[in-house]
Symmetry: C2
Subunit: 437 residues, 2 copies
């Protein structure tokens, strides 16, 4: 058995792709990298990668190829454009599409490989998650769909790029990986805006940002996104963005476009998308998405000098937590309902979210009840009532109005909770998912 | 029978109040006017009014009194504050509260009159609508609730201030007038933002603003608000606002606060409120509400130079109309459902809206179907299907996304339509109201 590692072709040396490609280099693979942006290629070469002069040179004779460009149109051009790689990949090559794309696009790649007489190519639909640092560490979450043989052939690469317990081989073939990523991003897209909404609301209430953040972290209102974005939000370290607004905007666009295609409602994702679009118009596109806090509070939140009594502070803090609890509950319902609708494996989805950027304590505790269909059981011991969540949210929203703070997600959540309550009566709070039935 | 007209006390000489008070002066009434803002009092005096040095002087010995301040807190101070008028109004005086306030506040005034031993006062809850010009012309819409005797005593004043066919004596006593106004404002609040959303979307699509406006006017997407705000939107004549953002923001705040109190969902009103709040943060508070177009398009919409072919223009125009149709449909459903929930007389409501600022062609045509409960009848001849509206809206939203235009109301409407479709199946489009059942 040879110890020589196979050559890997790689296109797309942006923040994520650069990390992934250089990680492969460090693992001993000869990686032939290409990017339209020349400085990225030079940086890659400096990091031990092999620079090639053209896109096709990155693919010629490569049994394994990774495409990590930013979008479906870019992938289409890379794969099937005039100078595309599919024409030059060797027979029986394994092709990984790691970009975040609509499932329908991933499926169209399979179809086009077929129609171009390249059904010999083993194609894997494998979007990733986890950010640039985990890409470089080879500890990404990866959601991979494809034929059994394709997955078997590509598995060593997927394993090299992912954390040992964060590689999800998603049942359902090509498209299943992208669907899994998409429903995960429902949570990510809502929680990113939710982190800003909570911190902006807290600032409007005159609360100390750090104190609020600590309280959120140790509460059941915690989200992975809040914790992750917090430092950049506090420091207003937005330019260039570690996670640019345009990235989550692209992802949420995939969600809402796919939802429209299936005539499935995604009210909170849609709300978040519109606010992201509004921020884009205001020039926030290239900034870190934690800059969304500006949509809620005009000044740096760290400048708020808290002057409330301990009792007032505690009361105001509860309003912020209640806002997040209700938002996170509806986010969980929207994500799970959409996943269920798309026949995504819900047990795998639950496990994946809990270990990934879409995680929230509410998802962990209420999501299982939603998934297992135990919702609405009046006998459920100690379950939080829908009405309890709604009434707490209403108080938070009234307080938001009193300090003229828009609460986009809070209001979208309230509408959903009230519609659910009208339809279902006062069941356990997880029963909000029934509005999507 | 004396031809001498009775003296009228009047507080609140803002844009609306000044018009109303000077109209009364022109009709031959001695009007004793007061306002905290001295220049308004001077202007009132110059227009033939009688200036008084204090609030109480405007009320002493006045058998008829009109309160037209801006909000419930201001009314509370005028009526019951330390220098409030209730203590000095003569026995059996008739008191008109024409401010837009929550019904619950109007009812609290009745209760406080009682508890202060002034149940002799004939109190009328009578918010108005129609803008400053109609106030000055005495052609307002007025929605008046109160005891029969109070309404009888105040009727001559209500008639003097209103158009002959726009005085609505609303059954249900004190609070009924305010509720009627509030449910009307559901339509106003949504259509004001809707006008900007449509025109901003059209600009993003590269359409000529005037051409679009003409097309909207002659289509079933027409709203009174669109036609009324159009000129100011085109001219960007926003400062000082003919109808300042803060006014509709106050009104929509009454809607959403009351909805929360009743645990009733108002998703489109809530969406509009959040965007108004966002604009407030950006300094748009005192500007005309037609400036909301800035939330959708960064430049004056008249600067768009259209370059599409006739066929492309027609197709893009349809997207704008489809957006408005769906939004107006959901606005009608939200307003009628909330009115029904509050036991507002729906026949009167229907008549009132059609003659007032909340009017839309969709309300006129579909509203009756919603009110009469004929919705969802699959046999209804020629009724537009829910799915038809939804699919047209989806295309508009996709186009909006392609030109990175936020469509806040469009998305809120889509979520509602899709939820309704999931719950009800593909019925007539008016059946969207059932989601509020």
């Amino acid at each position: 058995m040879s110890t020589t590692k196979p050559a890997i072709g790689f296109v797309g040396l942006g923040a994520m792709g650069f990390g992934m490609a250089t990680h492969l280099v460090r693992q001993g693979y000869p990686v032939y990298g290409f990017d339209l942006y020349a400085p990225s290629v030079q940086r890659f070469q400096a990091a031990g990668g092999i620079a090639v002069p053209s896109l096709r040179d990155s693919a010629r004779d490569k049994q394994f190829y990774v495409c990590m460009v930013a979008s479906a149109p870019q992938a289409q051009s890379v794969l099937f454009g005039e100078e595309g790689i599919v024409d030059v990949l060797p027979p029986n090559a394994t092709l990984l599409l790691a970009s975040t794309v609509p499932a329908s696009y991933a499926q169209s790649v399979s179809a086009e490989l077929q129609s171009r007489g390249r059904s010999d190519i083993f194609f894997i639909d494998c979007p990733v998650s986890g950010g640039a640092k985990r890409a470089a560490d080879g500890t990404l979450s990866i959601m991979a769909g494809g034929s059994d043989e394709a997955l078997q052939r590509g598995k060593f690469l997927l394993q090299t790029l992912s954390d040992s317990n964060k590689l999800y081989l998603v049942p359902g073939g090509v498209g299943a990986g992208s669907n899994m990523k998409m429903v995960h991003q429902v949570l990510a897209a809502i929680h990113i805006l939710g982190a800003s909404e909570a911190m902006g609301f807290a600032a409007r209430l005159g609360l100390d940002a750090t104190q609020v953040a600590e309280a959120i972290k140790s509460s059941d209102a915690w989200t992975w996104m809040h914790e992750n974005r917090l430092q950049r939000m506090l420091e207003e370290d937005w330019n260039p963005g570690a996670s640019a607004l345009t990235i989550i905007l692209k992802d949420v666009g995939i969600i809402t476009a796919s939802a429209r295609q299936h005539q499935f409602p995604t009210p909170l994702s849609s709300t978040a998308e519109q606010i992201y679009l509004a921020a884009l118009s205001q020039g926030f596109g290239s900034r870190d998405d934690s800059a969304m806090v500006r949509q809620y509070f005009p000044d740096p939140i760290q400048q708020v000098s808290a002057s409330k009594s301990a009792v007032e502070t505690e009361a105001a803090l509860q309003l912020v937590l209640d806002l997040m609890r209700a938002t996170n509950l509806c986010a969980a319902a929207e994500a799970i309902a959409f996943a269920r609708f798309l026949n995504v494996d819900l047990d795998q989805f639950y496990q994946l979210v809990n270990d990934a950027a879409g995680a929230s304590r509410i998802f962990t505790t209420q999501g299982l009840e939603m998934i297992e269909g135990r919702v609405g059981d009046k006998a459920t011991q100690g379950a939080v009532r829908l009405r309890t969540v709604t009434e707490a949210l209403e108080k938070a929203i009234q307080a938001g109005r009193d300090v003229t703070c828009p609460l986009h997600l809070g209001h979208a959540a309230l509408s959903l909770l009230l519609l659910a309550q009208r339809a279902e009566g006062d069941q356990s709070s997880a029963s909000v998912i029934r509005i999507f039935n």
